[in-house]
Subunit: 386 residues, 4 copies
Amino acid sequence: MVGRVDGEILTPTAAESHGPADADAITAAARLIGSAKKPVLLLGLLASGKSAAEAIRGLLAKTKLPVVCTYQGAGVVPREHFERFGGRIGLFHTQPADKLLDAADVVVTVGHDPIEYEPSLWNQGKKRNLIHIDAVSADIDKDYRPQLELTGNIAATLRALAAQIDPQTVPADTALLSEVARDRAILAERAALNGVPIHPMRLAHELQALLSDDMTLCLDMGSFHIWLARHLYSFRPRQILMTNGQQTLGVVLPWAIAACLVRPNEKVISISGDGGFLFSAMELETAVRLKCNIVHLVWIDGFYDMVGIQEMAKYGRLSGVEIGPVDVVRFAEAFGAKGLRIETPDQISSTIKKALEMPGPVIVGIPVDYRDNHRLMEIVHPDALD
Amino acid sequence: MVGRVDGEILTPTAAESHGPADADAITAAARLIGSAKKPVLLLGLLASGKSAAEAIRGLLAKTKLPVVCTYQGAGVVPREHFERFGGRIGLFHTQPADKLLDAADVVVTVGHDPIEYEPSLWNQGKKRNLIHIDAVSADIDKDYRPQLELTGNIAATLRALAAQIDPQTVPADTALLSEVARDRAILAERAALNGVPIHPMRLAHELQALLSDDMTLCLDMGSFHIWLARHLYSFRPRQILMTNGQQTLGVVLPWAIAACLVRPNEKVISISGDGGFLFSAMELETAVRLKCNIVHLVWIDGFYDMVGIQEMAKYGRLSGVEIGPVDVVRFAEAFGAKGLRIETPDQISSTIKKALEMPGPVIVGIPVDYRDNHRLMEIVHPDALD
Amino acid sequence: MVGRVDGEILTPTAAESHGPADADAITAAARLIGSAKKPVLLLGLLASGKSAAEAIRGLLAKTKLPVVCTYQGAGVVPREHFERFGGRIGLFHTQPADKLLDAADVVVTVGHDPIEYEPSLWNQGKKRNLIHIDAVSADIDKDYRPQLELTGNIAATLRALAAQIDPQTVPADTALLSEVARDRAILAERAALNGVPIHPMRLAHELQALLSDDMTLCLDMGSFHIWLARHLYSFRPRQILMTNGQQTLGVVLPWAIAACLVRPNEKVISISGDGGFLFSAMELETAVRLKCNIVHLVWIDGFYDMVGIQEMAKYGRLSGVEIGPVDVVRFAEAFGAKGLRIETPDQISSTIKKALEMPGPVIVGIPVDYRDNHRLMEIVHPDALD
Amino acid sequence: MVGRVDGEILTPTAAESHGPADADAITAAARLIGSAKKPVLLLGLLASGKSAAEAIRGLLAKTKLPVVCTYQGAGVVPREHFERFGGRIGLFHTQPADKLLDAADVVVTVGHDPIEYEPSLWNQGKKRNLIHIDAVSADIDKDYRPQLELTGNIAATLRALAAQIDPQTVPADTALLSEVARDRAILAERAALNGVPIHPMRLAHELQALLSDDMTLCLDMGSFHIWLARHLYSFRPRQILMTNGQQTLGVVLPWAIAACLVRPNEKVISISGDGGFLFSAMELETAVRLKCNIVHLVWIDGFYDMVGIQEMAKYGRLSGVEIGPVDVVRFAEAFGAKGLRIETPDQISSTIKKALEMPGPVIVGIPVDYRDNHRLMEIVHPDALD
């Protein structure tokens, strides 16, 4: 742990102090996985640490284990194992990855904190074995009572575990994974949506193409976040930083500033809705003063969309959800930053590329078409997007 | 961890999930201890767990490391290594064990939580190396910044560490330990104090003789606690349960009830002052109802002694510190328990033995002579007790 | 208001600083009461202050207003207007006084704080006028929105109000008051219950006969409290001190000590159940030390009766509600106080009289028969007690 | 009091429910004032209510009582009694009004809450009589123990008090008031300061000339606030709304929006520093959406001035106090509002007048010269400003 004393920065103790989990527990876990019919790996926040992610990749290389992750575990599964990746879960229990997890008879959680995706949402009433691999002991409750806990250095534990698993014995749920693959194919077609304002899936598609390995992407909260949390892939751990739940509107500009300070050689893209943008937009003053190379995209629809959806669900009427219009180009200029605007799908790529080449923060306004947002709460089946 | 769900008891996951600390960290620790001139072991609460205590005993058997402990680490150092045990520390920085700790150039803390004895009290401004061995990472602050952290299963870590330490290289601070031994010898003489009311050191002496391995002893707070915390030895981990600080007056009768439930085959002695006794004395109803075999000693002087000392120090006058008299024999009888009384030193042993043979709770009232209490705050030098 | 500074007692500013409420508001209130068909006075805590109570008595002498009160307004209605007194309300909405209040078209609250008896319990959904007479403005909510507020010195306001009310115009609800009278007559007969253990109504009856004007009576919480809060009358404000709700178990011995200090020339009787007694029984040490002339009655049934009733209602089973037995006579003697015991109905009066003549605190144990307690939650109709 | 229930607005009970304070207390107060040598009125927040302010003006018209006020009592003293007005107090105990208050032998507080200006700052250790006139009882502490409390309707109480005071008997402290007058004259000259950036006293002077009776002025916190709180006069109660202390940075734009909603026929000017502006500047979106006619002046110096002063005082160095530059004209335009800029003293009046004529919110940026700010903490003597 790191603390601060009187302005002086307390450095943590030297690198790694935990060893692997108890050897007997590791052996028992290998046996349990070996005898499972439908085992699934569930990756959480601590699975995305550097050494842990490498160890997971080793395990995936050796076995055919299907894998899902929370928003915080994004990027751990590498490109070469993409066909085994069921996708991301969190927020609503409606995703293909949820189906995969529901069907599992053994779930191996790795570095997963209950707050990322509450066990009451994904494990309630399930009779099956859980294996908890983490740096800390499990937070046991009615819906999360692991058969085995492997506590200690996650990477070392996973390496020891991988060494004991016989790859032959691990079956993959090919039926469900094929369904995931079919969904992805259909969604890929939706990426050609050409309307104005721009459809979120088109934006996801264009961002996917732009997202290179020397980039960090930070996401605020809002309906745009759910589109991207589900449909924008990453193959590098901690490349996409996502918040979860609805409590953190406005977090992303400060996050992006921090990312610039911590990863000075990377390009940083941050994204918010227009509502979330105004929550912390004055921090652009800080970004300009610190000369942060942030490209911040504002998805504009003049509406607190997620708030409105919940108001309608709870009260049957809307209240206080309209915003703006705010001219983000002028806003940027008021702070000495650059401002750009994307109006049509074909401008997305070129404008963001241009913005990435400009020094200092750039704000890019993008009107979006949120008419399909209601489907974010439904069981997603891509044909529904027609 | 254990939790409770809807009246159903959640059992923890199978036994041990942590492995030993990182192997390189253990090697580095062995090297650091090996090169130290005056290393000292500081044992805390988690050092008194069954397997951890065994591993510590193994380490002590192999090396000549001097050792001190907090009140919560009581009983870990076995009889055969008593000459290497500097004593217990906590509350005031005045003990022989504090001298030993002050002089150390490497301090190895084992299962020590800062709340047991704050590092600001024993390590402030010290330039020396700390090695932190614990189940959890160190809580770093200005006064506690370990050079090395060995996090994981404490017992396994200590076994691995012991295997790497060359016993030849560990020097003991014989001068300071001799001083400790001399102090103990002088204090042993004080145990013959024959006055009435009874002197706390005489009580400590008699209790020492009575304390057998099939006994649990629980201590409330008050000046009696400080006498016993320092001068009553135990060679069995978690045999003496002590609270710390002044915040827990009255805790001991509930503790003793719990000890009876958890260790049904042991004799349980609990001790409080007369002030602390009244804080929770009505729980005798519970002890009687549950037929707990507790012998509870009430040290009586009609005064909140530690409160009075602090009032004088802060305000220069006493307020609200007189209590009683309360006849604890009748009090016991009112609840259907037995009551006994010790008036003279020679009655101590026989009366307590008699009480231990009676079924159900027994309250034993003992008038004590606290005229030497002021010395508890001073640098203890036993000659001062004449 | 009174505060404390550094041990020095801050005395409040000279006696009375509030004048009467606004003159126009008083006139409007007189008019509203004059035109009501079924007005009722509801007296609360501040109605029991000395000058307020006198002014209320003046108002009752002039008009025929029916009146009810909360537990905190006990004793304000004098003997000569007893036939107009509907009784006390609070805790459950089942009393004759509740019927009277329910039927009212204008309710005049005097010094009533919502916490004494929440408006949601007695005024929810009622379309009628409220007049709020108090030292402070009304705490308006959905169920308490007075038509008129008369804020200021309560006594002066009531005097001005009484002067403007035409006694001819105030009708009394004779039908409901006759029902109250009939209930009282039937209950008076129940006071002859002669069983052993003693019935609560018999105790209420005997206490009523003993309660003289130079006495203060303090009640703890428990089922005994509900029996007495409803059926033991007082005609002197602040003679009976009652707590409300279930949150204050054990409050009464400290209260009785305070009553002794504040009213040194009165006899003080305090009453608790055996469960509540143990919550603060060790404060007997204080009562003895301060030589308080308290007679404390402990109603004994070896059970947390109100807790048990609620456990059965919520969980369908009992848990942790048995207590004792505790011999309160020996308990008293342990502290140097006197202890007495009442076993049969005919001993009640003589024993309490004897206790009142003894100096210092006296504890009196009384086994009671709580088999009728279930009726405390029902709409009380006295025939049900057969 | 007003509350809210389920979206429905709870209206308060009819107008006035308090009558005047107790008649005897009023008579005693009149006598105490009559016999005082140096009485002073101290007006607080509740003195600025409509009827209370009228009654105060009546009292001032009848007597020659000198008067001071807190920031919240601004505007109560009318133009015709300006020579008796010692000025405003609060924040630092350095003002001419503080001298007047210090010298008083009787202080009559009217509607003054201790939080506006703590009695420990203006009455500590003083041996003199206080008369507390308020709607609520005094909050007594070591430094505020009124001899008399007059609680009730403030206006009615003051009218009754005025009727009993013999104007002949009330002496005015002409020496100290002459000093106040001399100070004002000197400060008036400072208003001609012509430098660029603009001096705060010049801005105060120009604003004074512009401040007409159909205007509401709202002030944020910052050093600009202290300049205006002391030197910008108002002769209409609740015309200038000021926050106090440093805890409310950014409050003023929301306040100004509220003022527009509550006083739709007034012109609203609000003022903040550039630091405080950014704290809530995105609320301009709300102001534009609601079409609020606010002229918001931003005093610009690129610095958290008051924070910096305190950092230097406590830590001897500055940290994190530089801001911007932010172009407030473009900022305004980004939100669809108007933006203007004042560069030289001669543009102040014409630009603000122009802004007041524009519909919707207008942001006006004004670079200021804060080199004299250090004097805000010193005993102000206007010659010091040369």
